[in-house]
Point group: C2
Chain length 133, copies 2
């Protein structure tokens, strides 16, 4: 099961300590820069689209199984599968973002807390209600 | 970027043709069977938990970039990043499931459309509103 990056995040966020824990907690706008070879996969995404972005959190510790949620020692330890900790066996980031504008292979998005240089592995639309599918 | 399975899906669903396209479209109950080595990561998950399950859709075609949504030739072709097609460069399945019961390393869940034998790669809680985090 080998992931291949399909693009990269360009963001003013460069270190974990200053990054918000979630995108809706004050994350700046960022660019999603896609590889030319997946250009066809972007067809249908428009400004205003709400997307789920999947990334590879390449600075995470894959050996961590329990954490204090939100890095706060006052919170009792929990298994990582019931937290959004980036440290986990397969450090896949799941981010809900909104497309602000599009420039070819570059999507400008808001509400992304991923760090500069984070590999992009997938993009999915939000799932609509059954009646609208 | 090498994924390591942390468990496997046990489901009555064994072939793509008969599986629902989404979990809330009539999927049967299934078991998530986790590896002993990630037991600690499960701590905090209880019956009734709503989870996001990430799987590796091992029967997908990774070379597909455009599809007719929902496999219906009447739907105009779109890039896979604006569809939930399993065929995509990194075939990661994202499933919203509810835990029905727990038996050690086995979680019984409902609303899972993944096929029997699908590798599990991650589990995350649904993100709560900002005030509740």
């Amino acid at each position: 099961m080998e992931l291949r990056a399909v693009g990269t995040v360009e963001s003013p966020l460069t270190d974990l300590a200053s990054a918000p824990k979630q995108g809706d907690e004050g994350a700046p706008e960022a660019w999603l820069v896609f590889d030319e070879r997946v250009a066809d996969a972007l067809d249908g995404i428009i400004a205003g689209s709400d997307l789920l972005l999947l990334t590879w959190l390449d600075r995470a510790d894959r050996d961590v199984l329990r954490v204090h949620p939100r890095g706060n020692p006052m919170n009792p330890e929990q298994g990582v599968f019931s937290t959004r900790s980036p440290d986990r066996p397969n450090p896949i980031g799941l981010h809900r973002v909104t497309v602000v504008s599009i420039d070819g292979l570059r999507l400008r998005v808001r509400d992304l807390e991923a760090l500069h240089g984070t590999p992009i592995i997938d993009v999915k639309p939000l799932l609509k209600g059954i009646e609208e599918r």
